[in-house]
Amino acid sequence: METDLYDEFGNYIGPELDSDEDDDLEADDRDVDEADEDDEDEPADADEDVPGMEVVLHEDKKYYPTAEEVYGPEVETLVQEEDAQPLTEPIIKPVRNKQFTLMEQELPSTVYDMEFLADLMDSPELIRNVTLCGHLHHGKVKHSLRYTDILFTEQERGVGIKSTPVTMVLPDSRGKSFLFNIMDTPGHVNFSDEVTSGIRLSDGIVLFIDAAEGVMLNTERLIKHAVQERLAITICINKVDRLIVELKLPPTDAYYKLRHIVDEVNAMLSTYSTDENLVVSPLLGNVCFASSQYCVCFTLGSFAKIYSDTYGDINYTEFAKRLWGDIYFNPKTRKFTKKAPTSNSQRSFVEFVLEPLYKILSQVVGDCDTSLPRVLDELGIHLVKEELKLNIRPLLRLVCKRFFGEFTGFVDMCVQHIPSPQGGAKNKIEHSYTGGLDSDLGEAMAECDPDGPLMCHTTKMYSTEDGVQFHAFGRVLSGTIQAGQPVKVLGENYTLEDEEDSQVCTVGRLWINVARYQIEVNRVPAGNWVLIEGCDQPIVKTATITEPRGNEEAQIFRPLKFNTASVIKIAVEPVNPSELPKMLDGLRKVNKSYPSLTTKVEESGEHVILGTGELYLDCVMHDLRKMYSEIDIKVADPVVTFCETVVETSSLKCFAETPNKKNKITMIAEPLEKGLAEDIENEVVQITWNRKKLGEFFQTKYDWDLLAARSIWAFGPDTTGPNILVDDTLPSEVDKALLGSVKDSIVQGFQWGTREGPLCDEPIRNVKFKILDAVIAQEPLHRGGGQVIPTARRVVYSAFLMATPRLMEPYYFVEVQAPADCVSAVYTVLARRRGHVTQDAPIPGSPLYTIKAFIPAIDSFGFETDLRTHTQGQAFSLSVFHHWQIVPGDPLDKSIVIRPLEPQPAPHLAREFMIKTRRRKGLSEDVSISKFFDDPMLLELAKQDVVLNYPM
């Protein structure tokens, strides 16, 4: 459009249009012509200096200056067509800065020199890689003063979502500096995948336990996990102040409570570990006590040191050994005895540790004006006037900080009980490296050799502040990674035989991560943690980074093994279908950002996101909508994944013939022994073992006979799938050599079948398929994969359907904490959701009850909110996937009528779930069973008079 033909209100002010021109089309053409002419004429106008007298056609006249004349040539002027853009969209958009994390703009000043920190990186023996973990709200973050909650969402919610690495220099009680790489992990069970990724990089954990709440759901899971990952375990009993201020326990009871916690932890350690030396005790120094809120943190050793500093002349290590357990101090003999000298004498821990603590607290809280300065003077703490006027909490914090000093006790504990990267390397790579350790490379890693070939294991991806790019976070196990260096990134599917999943990238910058800021470095030697720019693209979850060439024998580190399962499923689609590519990009990014998240397209074409729980998926959706894709996304109601299983042995031998009628396979299905499915999934038993070892496992642990145990063909649907295919044919009846020639095809058919069961295309679980008989054609031509694979699948299905098929659903383990008067309400809420309580007991030393229960995951949506409503917010619950359980009812019972919008009685549930899943997937309403049976098989069924309550 020509600018100067219109005024600023859009009214036409150009030359008159010929009014007798009716046809719009022509008028448009004319306008265009005019515009063209104008352009051509302009230079001519400029030439003619003499204005005024000559005849100018009115369409050549210039009434207004052009934009260029007004604003000058360097200003770009845009003229917008009317309605070309919606009103809501500004013509010139303000520059938007996306920021989702709180970052320091500059490096903050620290008590130590950054150079010093960088120097320490070269001495692996002075480094400790530690994961801080614990149950929700047990004070992991408080320990670091919420400095590690860097996401805005984390601060709003008051709960950790992402694990955050912090690197700092801390001195121990002797003033020696150590470089601490600390991974602060979220405590909510939904995010235990984050803990897993942190644990993989660490040599030890510090487990935080709330002194008042004791060992909780996640505490137990973390202990189990750390034992499995073979890490050093240390305990920090936090919030000791709660015993004094909140529960108001007398010192003796407080001691019992603390001892109870330590005993509980030891009981768990002995359950999960075979190593008898793995115990925690304050005497060993791997238990410390803390109150993060008031800056209290001590071990027995560090407390004893305070005594020795004050009174001098005390061997504080010997003294510390007598500060725990049933040891009493006899003031007369000035000796420690095992028996109480008098009936009212206190245990040494109470006398020397708790009572002073109680006194300080009560002095500060109770009587701060009169006697406090005097008492503090005695303790050698001198406060100025302003400080004395502080409120109680800050004052208490100040006093405690002065009294206990820095967290040297904590540092001592980590230094003594958690191995350095050098010491822990062997243990680490034995557990996580897939290759052999006796190679040069293995030795370099075991020695943590900074001059060896580069090997770096990354387990997490951190997005940049604006959520556009990702940086990989990992640990250098050998060699030194340099900024700008080319590296080879090996993915999770890389093997020496199949090198496809590998790519060469160039490392960008390198950083050391300190939560809210990052220190850029040029090189990071073995033993340290590093944040790497530039090689995020080929990494999905974890990766192995190595030299681009010269290190061909490098194998990968094992992918993470999570201690929880993603069973909650939501389907997403963009509100505006054309924004699908944006959403896909967003999905790709959240997939990188959350370690155990799965995003995939289901057979029905839906994009589903699988997560561990409601909170988890809520965070994922926030990131997807706001951080990574900025589009409107529709979310379907959450559902869970189901499994299909059998509960009996097939009522008759099922057979099927190949289409060419030359082969016939006979199978039956039966349920697996209890616990076997879990063993396969947890890789307690592996199909890759040799036949003898595999056979022995099944013979000893599950009482299989020798023949069956030796003839296990496959697990399905994959190598860790919870179904087994067994060749149960007899050599006298079946030509084993012939059968062996089609083994591959039958296994493929079995795996195909178990991947998508016949009921509603969900995977089959916990079923053993036995091949009883097989007639195989002599000619290879007649027993090709094309004939055998689909047939094997059909036999699997028919055997499955004859063995009383059932659906399985995931169950959550729920732990609820509630005051005594709310317990009945908790029962009510659970009962309405098909849950049942397994244990209900008071927490010792507190007014709360712990209720442990199981609840079906599908009925757990909104459970937490429901629970809070019914208990006026006094109950608090956490739930985590626990096991699979059979859904009551027969899914194939056609007599059941599912009425819409009505809760179904229990026996109808299986049918309801199956039909609804089929509908969602766009399958036909009911299973057409006859499809899986041959005609002769159907005749057989009729002959044997098998009672099927479902018509064929």
Partner: protein, 467 residues
Amino acid sequence: MCLIILMEGGAKEKCPSGMDNSFILFYLQALFWPLFVLSFDIRHHNLIVNTLDISSCCVDEVAAEHVGADCIVHYGRACLSPSRRLPLMYVFERKPVVLETCVSSFRELYPNRQSHVILLYDVNYDHINDDLLALLSSEYPNISASTLHVDGELCYSHGETHGQHNVSSSQCQNGDQVVQQFGRQFVLKSGLTIEDYSVFFIGHEGATMTNFMMTWNRCSFCSFDPVTMTGRTESVSINKALMKRYYAIERAKDASVVGILVGTLGVANYLTIIEQLKETIHRAGKKSYMFAMGKLNVAKLANFLEIDIYVLIACPENSLLDSSEFYKPVVTPFEMEVACNKKREWSGEYVTDFRDLLPGGSKHVALANPDDLEDGDETDVSLITGALRMTRFSSSEPVSSSHDSSLVLRNQALTVANANTAATFLAGRSWQGLEQKLGETPVVKALEGRKGIAIAYEEEPTIDRDH
């Protein structure tokens, strides 16, 4: 002159029983009257009744050429895909329809008299077209009836005059738009697009209706089944069906070896689409093999374990194959294009007719120019397995096999390994071919082996050709 007429499309089953050759001849004579001036004696004609066909809705021109037919009569179900070689005539069965029920169910389904509705028929119900239109058009002014319109110069349908074929422009004088697709032709009022219309389909649910629904998936569909005499709204399931096809596309993206199934030898331009697909697949860094295997079944396709996915080239009605029973999925050329052509995006629009994908077709999208793409590996995460997949856009020509030893420029030193899909597959197989077993087996003299081809060796007297 000898006229060989090929009758096909299941003529045998569908002809009234007891009908002998002479009857058919007579029937044909009557049919052909308007078309051919029969200047020769009808008794000398050879008649071949052909029921051997890949898909009974398409015209099998190759079979016709084998017998040297001069003309084809297609009887029964038809997808009306154009064929180019021989004169062709369609004969449709006239199935009875109770007009009153049809009209009343129409009224029920469209209570609004101003609704814009397109009437579509199964070919067997074409004969009620005029009667139905007469009954409805007075009540519904915005109704638009479709007429059968066989594309192609040499095609005729019974009762149609040849003159109609020359409507080539899609714009009428009054601005109304003529749509010709799948052998149907209907008129859209000016200013309206097909999305503004609803579709009323008369016929059974089946491939024909699914094809319409997939193509015009934004329209609301209602159908009337003359056999059960019920009308109903259909559009609920179509989204599900589209989503399932989307899943197929994702599978296609993951695949590295593609099998091109030639399911038609009759539909015009099938060779062009094969060439285009080969090029597209190659550019996406995948391998393709071509298969011509007549009627598809599960066992046949499962014989080729190396293939990750199949593309079926067939007429629109046969392309949409429900592949859940197959060991490896079968997709349409459109889906393969979405998976391989970076410029084509999944937007919910769906093309069943592969001719639309060809250059000049309404839905053609050119391949990205090789120069525009940085020749490198692009990484992407598979949405099915969650594993990383690399889409290698190889813009280069395939390395000619005659220079096996010649050097090839390495891709900016970023290539780690030359992924060879065939070799990978072989490595994962338990039987990798004959083992030499040098020194383990005794030396014997050469024996005479089998002779002949695998399907029928000479020493095997009885053979079973049943697969």
